[in-house]
């Protein structure tokens, strides 16, 4: 499989008469873009607002982030989701780099939604503060979940995906500024020089805890809860096979943007043929029942063994209950002799004194730790809020509250906030961006 990601580096985005990309400027015909999004009858109101790094803007509730792209062959960017099923990871895809389309609730938030500050101290907590964010701020007719804490957020998440395809199509016929090429030979067809290097797999545990469909991460449109672990080519993940869900406390979440740009896959590619023989990705999941956890761990370990893996990087999209999957899988891999490095965040409590993962095993002896979900974060007011600030306290976001005996409400009258890291949008960056770690104090 050979994937060419053609990059168009966006220096600024603005609104104009038509949608096009020129000299680093992405111009968006706002009316046309909104009309395209509103072809979905479930979206009752929509606006597009641009937030740039350094601006005094706070975006909340953010439900999803997507890199604007188009598939040059004409197929959907997200097969099985925004169009029919077709294999991705092969051929040419164009991307508007340095930007992301954000799905933002005009009013209503939910448990898995997050917050992004575009400047100040808050900008240290999420990768997305560095990007030019094209915010789709929308409301929908999904009355069945209007006052639910858990929301599927389908219309607005799908709207953001479609908006990203609309924007991406502006560069469909243009020549990219640069092209990243990702090519990985089949497992049994490696050259002798590559084959003699230690073989490694990347084991991903995307979020799949909800029994009801509509909340979990999707694999080619298929609910990750309904599958056993499977083998995938890394290009598929970089090229739209994986869609983020709408359930997990936000700092632990991997947005669709994170899947499309997964830094750990790129790191493994960078080392392929030099220090390791990168075999591919084992796509697992994070189901809640013990038997499902054990079954998944067994599948992962068997697959790793039969692929001939010597080593693995294992990453979980979540904390709490999913720690059991993470540790079970870690143990299963070590037990068959696959030397494993884990990537996760921790939940040590606001005082830092709680057990970092729900379950532990001494075999999990090499872990990269990306943050503490329960760290308290206090942020000053911002000049502009995109979305609705009240949602943080009112709508049951995992890191917000409407009242607390000691701390008061999350959202204060002056627009400042106090919250748990839990609701920083994809803040712990376990997919690989994280420049956070955990230290003993």
């Amino acid at each position: 499989m050979k994937l060419e990601l053609g990059n168009f580096h966006v220096k600024d985005a603005r609104f104009g008469e038509k949608t096009y990309f020129e000299d680093g400027i992405l111009t968006i015909n706002k009316e046309e873009a909104i009309a395209y999004v509103m072809e979905d009858e479930h979206i009752t109101s929509a606006d597009i607002i641009i937030a740039r790094p350094g601006e005094a803007k706070r975006i909340v509730p953010v439900k999803e982030a997507i890199e604007p792209r188009c598939r040059v062959s004409g197929g959907p960017v997200f097969p099985g989701v925004t169009g029919g099923i077709e294999t991705c990871g092969n051929g040419r895809t164009h991307a508007l780099k340095n930007t992301s389309v954000l799905a933002v609730g005009k009013h209503w938030g939910s448990f898995g939604d997050g917050l992004i500050d575009m400047s100040g101290k808050g900008a240290d907590y999420t990768y997305f503060s560095q990007l030019i964010n094209i915010c789709l701020v929308a409301d929908t007719d999904e009355e069945f979940e209007r006052y639910e804490q858990q929301k599927k957020n389908k219309a607005i998440r799908w709207g953001a995906m479609r908006l990203s395809e609309y924007l991406g199509s502006a560069v469909k016929d243009m020549e990219p500024q640069d092209i990243e090429t990702y090519e990985l030979e089949p497992v049994s067809k490696k050259s002798p020089e590559v084959a003699k290097l230690p073989s490694v797999v990347y084991v991903m545990q995307p979020q799949s805890q909800m029994e009801e469909q509509g909340y979990n991460d999707l694999v080619y449109g298929w609910d990750a809860n309904r599958m056993v672990p499977t083998f995938m080519h890394p290009n598929e993940i970089l090229d739209g096979a994986m869609i983020s869900g709408s359930f997990m406390p936000c700092s632990s979440k991997w947005s669709t943007y994170d899947f499309m740009n997964n830094p750990t896959i790129k790191e493994l590619y960078g080392n392929h043929g030099k220090t390791v023989n990168f075999l591919g990705v084992i796509m697992s999941n994070l189901n809640v029942a013990m038997e499902q956890k054990e079954r998944a761990a067994m599948f992962v370990a068997n697959m790793a063994k039969n692929l001939g893996a010597d080593g693995a990087i294992l990453a979980e999209e979540g904390y709490g209950n999913p720690d059991a999957d993470f540790i079970a899988c870690y143990r299963a891999l070590e037990d068959i002799g696959v030397k494993t490095v884990g990537m996760t965040n921790e939940c040590t409590g606001r005082d830092g004194q709680s057990q970092p993962l729900v379950t532990l095993d001494e075999k999990a002896n090499a872990i990269v730790s990306c943050g503490n979900v329960s760290q308290l974060v206090e942020l000053p007011p911002m000049d502009e809020v995109i979305g609705e600030l009240a949602a943080l306290g009112r709508d049951g976001l995992s890191g917000g509250w409407d009242g607390d005996e000691k701390l008061g409400p999350s959202v204060r009258e002056d627009g400042s906030v106090i919250m748990e890291n839990n609701s920083m949008f994809c803040g712990d960056q376990v997919s690989g961006w994280s420049r956070k770690t955990m230290k003993e104090f």
């Binding site: 448990f111 240290d124 907590y125 804490q149 858990q150 230690p198 490694v200 805890q209 029994e211 830094p263 750990t264 790129k266 790191e267 390791v276 809640v288 010597d310 080593g311 990087i313 709490g320 209950n321 030397k339 490095v341 884990g342 990537m343 921790e346 939940c347 040590t348 409590g349 606001r350 005082d351 004194q353 709680s354 057990q355 970092p356 001494e362 999990a364 090499a366 872990i367 990269v368 730790s369 503490n372 979900v373 329960s374 760290q375 049951g396 995992s398 009242g403 890291n421 839990n422 960056q429 376990v430 961006w433 994280s434 420049r435 956070k436 770690t437 955990m438 230290k439 003993e440 104090f441």
Partner: protein, 349 residues
Amino acid sequence: MKKAILYINQFFAGIGGEDKADHAPEIREGLVGPAMALDGALKNAVVTHTIICGDNFMGSREDEAVEKIMEFLSDKEFDIFFAGPAFQAGRYGNACGVICKAVKERFGVPVISSMHEENPGVDMFKKEVVIFPGGKSAAAMRKDTKKVAAYGDKILAGEKLGNAQEEGYYIRGIRHQVIDKTMEPASKRAMAMLLNKLSGQEYTTELPIPKVERVPIAAPIKEMASAKIAFVTSGGIVPADNPDRIQSASATRWGMYDISAEARLEGNGVYKTIHAGYDPAAADADPNVCVPLDALRAYEKEGRIGSIDSHFYTTVGTGTTEAEAARMAQEMIVHLKEHNVDGIILTST
């Protein structure tokens, strides 16, 4: 100038060795023994008093010793408290830990000690007390004292304190996140760790697995037919209006609700779950799937258990820290004991 007080044992006070280890607590104005080195090393404080206590006295009559020392301190002004260094002396290490913990709790001042890594006092007290690694014997007095004095000076000057590794004290199981933009991203850290692990070279995990604290399993109930059973749940089942406003995640509150008149927990607006960590549909429709009161009532009727406690006890487990959970359990236990409960069915999600 800020003020410091030091705790030492009878040996370092020059009173005597094992034969004087029953020496009762006393407080002296000014500097005794190691207090001189500490006073000399401290830049931002003077040592005003030295407390002396025999190691045996502290070991065998701890409550009395602590009470007396608290009394000594109650009318003293001090900004920081030191104990030791205790080197490898086990009983002395224990004494330093006990007194530092008590002083910290009572007076809220920083407390610092120093012990050799094999001193059992390290593991017993490192969570409550900042303890610096020290030498095996008094030969290290000057060096060990310098370390505690330097850290004390930093606290007193209001300087930003580093983490355990940077400052050099024993790690304590208190973990916080650190943002460091100069650090390699997690993907590169993982790759480097993997390469080292694959080639058998050394690497440092960012999450050392701590030893798990296990609660001993209770003795079995002898007579189930006369036992009183209670439900405790972390599944978030509450009366529909959630009267105690228990949080849906990261809970710090819990509730106990009277079910003495209930045959089962009704859904449909009577009971529901407020737990945000699982799909609530099944538990909202029938709360007994989480707190199976209906099944236990049947057992009660059949005489398989004696009775069911008048209340059930509930909180939310998702994101709730171990420390908060343990505190809430301690608070529930008071009521469970009062109700003479013999056994608990603990349900999760």
